[in-house]
């Protein structure tokens, strides 16, 4: 599904925030990418989306090279992106925010599908309200559904639990796991909240200094043996 090989990228010429980053995700898999702040997790998502220039390495999505594509082209290849801080359009209504998720996709009907309002009931309730008037958790739900209405094959989530009350984090985890299971959606989750990771992920990648340094598919064992968590996440 997603193959990343030897990615080198940074914010200025010569900088190597990502330093030989490699990973792969199988179709329908939910993978968590973990690591301390400043290790390059968000930079990887931005490089994948085309927001940060890649100096070497390759990214392929479903066999198609997407390295060097512009953000809108990456999105049209089927990548949905929920950035850190959500970045909803605060002056737009909930419905307009969701509409933004399909306007760039001429292959989709130019309207918000009915199911978009069923995933999180609050979006139906607040349909005509300004996105900026909602709580952080509701905005996160909006940002996730805005990405989903673009019918992505791969969903990138950057710290979706940040600053959100636990019951909404759980609800988000449940809904996304169900969609992944029922529709084969592949999810890459960048997260520091272990509860969400343990509740959703099938595989965990630990990142340090711009590269993946440890990997496990025995996610539930991390509850009993949290050594990797202590080693790669604690400050």
């Amino acid at each position: 599904m997603l193959d990343v090989n030897g990615l080198v990228a940074g914010y200025s010429a010569g900088s190597r925030v990502l330093d030989g980053f490699s990973m792969h995700i199988r179709p329908g898999e939910i993978v968590a990418l973990l690591g301390r702040n400043g290790m390059g997790k968000t930079t990887f998502l931005k490089a994948l989306m085309g927001h940060v220039a890649v100096s070497s390495g390759t990214v392929t999505l479903g066999g198609k090279a997407i390295t060097g594509l512009k953000p809108y082209e990456v999105a049209r290849c089927g990548v949905g992106y929920v950035p850190q801080g959500r970045e909803i359009f605060p002056d737009f209504t909930v419905e307009e925010n969701l509409l933004m998720g399909v306007l760039g996709r001429s292959d989709l009907p130019q309207e918000v599908p009915a199911w978009a309002f069923e995933l999180f009931p609050i979006l139906q309730e607040r349909r005509t309200q300004r996105g900026g008037s909602m709580s952080g958790g509701q905005q996160q739900q909006l940002a996730i559904v805005r990405a989903l209405v673009g019918r992505p094959r791969l969903l990138l989530l950057d710290e979706p639990s940040e600053g959100i009350q636990p019951n909404i984090v759980q609800e988000i985890g449940r809904v996304l796991s169900r969609i992944a299971r029922e529709q084969g959606l592949t999810i890459l989750l960048v997260e520091q909240n272990m509860e969400l990771v343990l509740g959703m992920a099938q595989r965990c990648l630990f990142m340090e200094n711009g590269a993946v340094v440890h990997e496990t598919d025995q996610v539930q064992q991390l509850r009993d043996d949290p050594a990797p968590i202590h080693r790669y996440l604690s400050v």
């Binding site: 989306m49 953000p71 809108y72 359009f89 996709r105 673009g150």
Partner: protein
Amino acid sequence: MSFAIELGLDTLSYSLSLLLVSLGLVIIFGLMNVINMAHGEFFLLGAYSVVAVQHAGMPYWAALIVAPIVLAIIGVVVEQLIIRHVYHRFIDTILATWGLALAIKQLIVIVFGPTSQSIVNPLPEPVQILGVVYPSFRLFIMAVALAVSVATFWVFYRTHIGLAIRGVIANRSMAASLGLNTRRMDRWTFAFGAALAGFAGAVMAPIMSVDPQMGGGFLIPAFLSIMVGGMAHLLGVVLGVGLIGATGTVISSIDTQVASQVAVFLLAIIIIRIWPEGLIGRRR
């Protein structure tokens, strides 16, 4: 009484024409963060397309179609050749578009000469309105400017493409992450802004002195209107042109043109001093 009605009509006519020019300018600035110093020259080119149309023996009305089309094409070319290379560098866009303005002005001098061109008034018969005799062409300008402005608002606030443009203005990188081709939207928006300016030039040509300096005469009040009104909403521009247009027209009707300009600048300075973001400030 008739003086007041005439003054009211003059104010409305000037403000609506100013609105046409300002709308293009503010949309381009909002979307691309480009202060287009050549916008006045796009207006100038619109007016000279009337001259060209008349030379070609065609009726004035043809220019209302020719001017926006020609200016849209020029807008695409300018965006492609100049703007897209510099629009990340704010100050350079001002310099580059100012240079373009000079070049356009000189080109007009070379092709049409430095002197003022005469344009035949296509609607010479005045009409009786609210008890005053008023030039029918000015009423035509008002109607057209109002219709085009309403249409622009409708596109901006009631259509999908308008929502997409507002989305790019609000958060360019997020809009791109959702699949919107922001580069293509820049190009078409710039072309649309240029077409609006060109259309305004063509509409206004019969009541103005059409000469190579006419562009600046509209550019400065347009900028002032935008700064006074603010950029949070297109309605800010409406408020800005209303205030600037009314002040300019009223003062010039009771005193000299110089006094009117002094009043307009004073008003703008006071408002910007109190509300630096304009009357409808940009929300953050």
